[in-house]
C-alpha cells in the first residue's frame, strides 16, 4: 500500500475521532475541544474529558482489535467470511457474562467472566477440531467454532429462560455491545491486549501470507503449518475476547474491515493486518457516533449499528463469491 494511503487512513481515523468527541446530545464546538484538553472547567469540557474521550478511545481500541483479529483469521482460514465471532469467541463470551450475571457477580467481575468464557469457547473449538481428527485444518476449526457458538446460544437461552428482568437486561447489553460506559482501567487493559496482540499478529503476517496459499504449499515453503495456524488462532481469539470483555459483542467489524483494507490496496498480510486495525478503529468510532445521533437522546446499540452496516456488505460479498 502506498504511503499516501496510510496517511489518508490515519487522517480518517483522526477526523472520525474529533467528530465523535464534538458531536452528541451536547454539541461541543471544535474550538472548545482544545480548551477541554487544557483543563477548562466548563460543562462541555467535563463532557469531553470524562465521557466522550474515554468512549472514543474505547471504540478505537475495540475496532482496531476486531479489525486486526479478523484480517489475520481470514488469511489463516483462507476464508473471506471468517471473523472472530464465527469461531465461537462471541458465544463463549456471552455465556460467561450471562453466567456471571445470573450468579449475581459484581459488575467488575462480568468482563472477566466474559473473557474466560471466550477462551473456554476457543479451547472447546480446538478440542472439537482435534476430536474430528484434524489438528490444524482451518475448515474443521471454522466448523468447530460455529458448532461451539450454536451450543453457546442454546446455553444462553436456557440460562435466561427463568431469569429476572435485570439479569436479562444485563445479558442483552452484552449481546448488543456498547462503548458507552467506558472507564480508564478497562481501556488500559484492552490497550495492553490490542498493542501486544496486534503487534504479534502483524509480525505473524508473513506466516499468514504463506498459509493463504493452502496448507500443503505452506508446508513446502518451510512453514510449520499446525503451529502457525494455532499461533494466529490463539492470539486473534485473545484480542477478540478482550474486546468482548470491554464492550460486549460487536459483530461484522472483523468481517467487513479486512475487505475494505484489501480494497485500499493492502494485499500482503503485514500491511493488511495493520491497515485493518486503523480501518476497524475508524469504523467503530463512526458506528458509535451514528448510534448516538440517529435517534437522540436515546442511543442505538453499537452491535446493532455494525450489524445493520455489515449484513448488506456480507450479502454483497456472498453474491460476489459465487
Amino acid at each position: 500500500m502506498k504511503p499516501s494511503r496510510w496517511a489518508l487512513l490515519v487522517l480518517a481515523l483522526f477526523v472520525a475521532a474529533v467528530l465523535a468527541i464534538a458531536i452528541g446530545t451536547i454539541r461541543v464546538p471544535i474550538s472548545a475541544l482544545a480548551d477541554a484538553f487544557r483543563g477548562s472547567q466548563s460543562t462541555s469540557a467535563f463532557v469531553v474529558r470524562s465521557l466522550r474521550v474515554p468512549r472514543v478511545v474505547l471504540a478505537t481500541l475495540v475496532g482496531a482489535g476486531l479489525g486486526m483479529s479478523g484480517a489475520a483469521l481470514q488469511g489463516t482460514m483462507r476464508n473471506p467470511l471468517a471473523e472472530p465471532y464465527l469461531l465461537g469467541v462471541s458465544g463463549g463470551a456471552a455465556v460467561g457474562a450471562v453466567v456471571a450475571t445470573v450468579l449475581g457477580f459484581g459488575v467488575a467481575l462480568v468482563p472477566v467472566a466474559a473473557f474466560v468464557g471466550a477462551i473456554v469457547a476457543v479451547l472447546a473449538a480446538f478440542f472439537v477440531a482435534r476430536a474430528a481428527g484434524s489438528r490444524g485444518d482451518a475448515r474443521v476449526l471454522l466448523m468447530a467454532g460455529v458448532v461451539v457458538g450454536a451450543f453457546a446460544n442454546a446455553a444462553i437461552m436456557v440460562l435466561l429462560a427463568n431469569a429476572e428482568a435485570n439479569v436479562v437486561r444485563n445479558a442483552l447489553w452484552w449481546m448488543m455491545g456498547s462503548v458507552a460506559d467506558a472507564t480508564w482501567p478497562q481501556i488500559n487493559v484492552l490497550f495492553g491486549y490490542v498493542l501486544v496482540g496486534g503487534t504479534a499478529l502483524i509480525l505473524l503476517g508473513r506466516n499468514v501470507d504463506v498459509l493463504a496459499l493452502g496448507e500443503d504449499a505452506a508446508a513446502g515453503l518451510g512453514l510449520n503449518v499446525d503451529r502457525a495456524i494455532r499461533d494466529v488462532f490463539v492470539i486473534a481469539s485473545l484480542v477478540a475476547a478482550a474486546t468482548v470483555a470491554a464492550a460486549g459483542l460487536i459483530g461484522f467489524v472483523g468481517l467487513v474491515v479486512p475487505h475494505i483494507a484489501r480494497g485500499l490496496g493492502a494485499r500482503r498480510h503485514r500491511a493488511l493486518i495493520a491497515a485493518s486495525g486503523i480501518v476497524g478503529a475508524t469504523l467503530v468510532v463512526l458506528a458509535d457516533l451514528l448510534g448516538r445521533v440517529l435517534r437522540p437522546p436515546s442511543e442505538l446499540p453499537l452491535g446493532a449499528v455494525t450489524a445493520l452496516v455489515g449484513v448488506p456488505f456480507f450479502l454483497a460479498k456472498l453474491r460476489h463469491l459465487r
Binding site: 481470514q74 483462507r78 518451510g222 500482503r268
Partner: protein, 259 residues
Amino acid sequence: MIRFDDVAVRYPRAGADALNGVSLSAHAGALTAVVGPNGSGKSTLVRALIGRVALARGRVFVDDRDAVAMDRAELARNVAVVTQREELAFPVTVDDYVQLGRFPHLGIWHAAGAADRRAIDESVEAAGVTALRDRRVDALSGGEWQRVRLARALAQGGRALVLDEPTTFLDVGHEMAVFELLHRVARSGLAVLLVSHQLNLVARFADRIVLIHGGLVAAEGAPEDVMRAEILERVYEWPLVVTRDPAIGAPALVPLRSR
C-alpha cells in the same frame, strides 16, 4: 539428493496403505519422473517429503539427512515443492507471489535483502514471466499461472525441485514449455523430481522413470526400460502399443481403442 527408502504411508481410516514400501532416488543434475495410475500413491510421496503425512515405515533422506527430523525451513531452503493444487484465497500480484519463495530464508524480523531480490529476478527471468510481474495471479491464464508457480519454486533457491503434475490443464505448447524449462533446470545441476501423467513427455525428457502402482514400485529405469507395452498394459489395465516418437526416437505410448 532426495532418497525415499522403503517408505510406507497409511492415511487415517483408509483400508489400504497409500504407499507400501517405496524406494527411489532423485539425483542432482537429472530429471527423475514418477508416473503411475490415479491413486497409485504419487502425490503421497510428495506429501511424505514435506512432512504432511506421517510415515508408517521407512525414511526420506535429503542429502543423507532424515527429512522428517530436519527443521522445516531448512528443508525448504534445500528442496522447493510445487504442490498439485494451490488456490489463493486472496490473490496477490505475481511479484508478491514469487517473493513468497524467499520465505524460508527470512526470519520473522528480516525484510527481503539484495540476495533475495536477485534470486527473485533470476527465477522470474528463468521461468519467462518477467512481463507478468505486476499482474494479479487471478488474472493469469493456466499456463502463465503454472510458470509463475515454477518461478516461485525456483526463487526458493534450493538444490532440488519437486513438482506434482505441473502441466495439468495446459495445452501442448505450454506443456512443452514447462518440460523444456524443467529439463534446463535439471541440466543446471538441480535434482528435479517430477510427478506426471504425461507418459509421452516424460519418456522424452526424463533421465529416469519410476512407475508406481498400488503403493509399490512396479518398474524403474531409463525410459526404454519402463515404457514397455507389457509393463504399462498391466499397470494401466488398458491395451496399448509402444512405438517410437518420430523426432528423437524416444518410446511413445499409443493406447488402443477397445474395439
